[in-house]
């Protein structure tokens, strides 16, 4: 009997390693494994095969606890703001979203809201061309809220279905930049009732536990309706979203799986869980 118990401890160690190395975080991994131990104790089972199955179930329950659809029919123009820290894939994701909605027969307009970074506007312009949609821009250095104000005006006058606003990358710890984002959000609220309809936080799948801090602070600042998890075509698992969905109740809506315009997918919880193991 003692020999069998030892195997289970090795199995739990092995699972802790899988979860932690997938970036679930040591606290979340521990909580999940404890839940599984408890289920096995209550069921009075020590079947090693059940351990992994229960673990997958626990993670799946968390990930499925939030809806992840986007109903773009809720408003016109339907306004999507895309936010996140530097370099995670916001601008590229906007190109992919614009192309997807265009292919669905929707009219799309882009707002070049990153007026700070070198060539940010030109980068979004290329994506606008690839996606076949227009773009509203001012010159580099102008006020991002002013650009978005103009973009909303244009979307209304053109009868655009979907307006997607790019924003400059910013670290969540920079209070003045987060204040700027809040101000931009207020412009949208004022100009379009019910907007912004979606505020998508873009997270890089290679990011570790700092993603929780990012999600928390962006949520506090502007309220996040969904997450886009990018760069899942690499070897990182993006497990940190499990803590984010569990603690902050923010759903993962899309995943980025490459640098091309087609490389966007709806988030599928079961595929994600399978890939963890």
């Amino acid at each position: 009997v003692l020999g069998r118990k030892r195997i289970d401890e090795d199995l739990y160690d092995e699972l802790e390693e899988i979860l932690v190395t997938s970036d679930l975080g040591v606290q979340t991994s521990y909580r999940l494994i404890e839940k599984v131990r408890e289920r096995l104790r209550r069921g009075e089972s020590d079947d090693a095969g059940l351990v992994k199955a229960y673990l997958k179930e626990e993670i799946l329950t968390i990930l499925k606890s939030t809806g992840n659809a986007i109903d773009t029919g809720r408003g016109k123009p339907f306004v999507i703001m895309v936010v996140g820290v530097n370099g995670v894939g916001k601008t590229t994701t906007i190109g992919k979203l614009a192309s997807k909605y265009n292919a669905e027969g929707k009219s799309v307009l882009l707002c070049a809201g990153d007026t700070f970074r070198a060539a940010a506007i030109e980068q979004l312009e290329v994506w606008g061309e690839r996606a076949g949609c227009g773009i509203i821009k001012h010159k580099e250095g102008s006020d991002p809220s002013a650009v978005l104000f103009d973009a909303i005006k244009a979307a209304k006058s053109r009868g655009t279905d979907i307006l997607i606003a790019d924003t400059a990358g910013r670290l969540h710890t920079k209070t003045n930049l987060m204040e700027e984002l809040k101000k931009t959000r207020r412009v949208v609220e004022r100009e379009v009732s019910g907007a912004p309809h979606e505020i998508l936080l873009v997270l890089d799948a290679t990011t570790g536990q700092n993603a929780v801090s990012q999600a928390r602070l962006f949520k506090e600042a502007v309220e996040i309706t969904g997450i886009v998890l990018t760069k899942l075509d690499g070897t990182a698992k993006g497990g940190v979203v499990v803590s984010i969905v569990d603690e902050l109740k923010i759903p993962v809506k899309f995943i980025g799986i490459g640098e091309g315009v087609e490389d966007l997918r709806h988030f599928e919880p079961s595929e994600f869980v399978e890939a963890l193991f």
Partner: protein
């Protein structure tokens, strides 16, 4: 924080007389948790705890009135010494133009860092030449040109329809003719598992033989850091690492993981989006940051 956790561990063991190996192990568990929460790689953290246990079992901790503080001191010193050592600054002795190649994953900060490096070299009286070798990302060449304009530093006029290997070769010749001291090659972000793009980097290395091949990594990267760093190092034999976005609140465990797995020194850190936000790496400050 870790200091409080260790004090709690040692406080409840205090009443039992002298400390034992089991007591030290319990305290080390807290240290290991702190490292994992800081994104230090799982295996690197385990190896580090094993190596520091010997020192932690010494009389400094066992007979101290403040064993928690003593343990933190030992751990922090060990971390700093692992990440530090002799840091070779940028090569200044090679025959000009000295080539510096920046490589790494998508979005890690290579293009911005190229600007920062060029600015630093110019401030030291050197004449750097910037080379945009990213033909894939929309407006990547323009991005580096804009940075060059801001700094008053010349940028090679790369053509997005050209091949990065050709761009680097032509740019090197231009730098040679133009009497530049340094040539900084900004390459496209790429996955370490993209064989074709990794091969492109090897080809550039063979053609140019850079004095420096610097891996630019985002300080917020998680457990995957070792896979990525190892792959880039095995392909290219990196000369060093630059960690970016340390102006945020990422604990930066990648610093320990990358050093442990490649042995290569961290030469600089990026601490902001502006081109002057660039500093040399300080292992002792990084050690404190990782421990939280």
């Amino acid at each position: 924080n870790l200091s409080e956790k260790l004090n709690t561990v040692f406080k409840k063991l205090r009443g039992h007389g002298t400390l034992s190996e089991a007591n030290i192990e319990e305290a080390l568990k807290e240290v290991r948790m702190a490292l994992l929460e800081a994104d230090v790689n799982f295996k690197v953290a385990r190896d580090f705890i094993d190596s520091v246990k010997v020192k932690a079992m010494g009389s400094e901790v066992m007979q101290s009135l403040t064993p928690g503080q003593q343990m933190i001191k030992i751990v922090r010193d060990e971390l700093a010494s692992l990440m530090g050592g002799v840091v070779s600054p940028l090569d200044t002795a090679a025959r000009p133009p000295i080539a510096i190649m920046l490589v790494g994953l998508q979005g890690s900060g290579k293009t911005t860092t190229a600007g920062k490096l060029a600015r630093l070299l110019k401030s030291k009286g050197k004449k750097p030449f910037l080379v945009p070798a990213d033909v894939y990302r929309p407006a990547a060449i323009l991005q580096l040109k804009r940075l060059g304009e801001q700094l008053g530093i010349n940028v090679y006029d790369s053509n997005a329809g050209d091949d990065p290997l050709n761009i680097c070769r032509e740019a090197f010749r231009a730098a040679d003719r133009g009497g530049y001291d340094y040539i900084i090659l900004d390459t496209a972000g790429r996955l370490h598992i993209d064989d074709e793009l990794m091969q492109e980097l090897s080809a550039i290395k063979i053609a140019i033989s850079p004095s420096e091949i610097l891996f630019v990594a985002d300080a917020m990267i998680g457990q995957d850091a070792v896979n990525v760093a190892k792959a880039f190092d095995e392909r290219l034999n990196l000369s060093g690492v630059i960690l970016t976005k340390l102006d945020g609140d990422a604990r930066g465990g990648v610093a320990l993981s990358v050093k442990a797995v490649t042995g290569k020194p961290i030469k600089f850190i990026g601490v902001g989006e502006k081109l002057d936000a660039f500093e040399p790496f300080h292992p002792d400050r990084m050690a404190s940051r990782i421990l939280g």
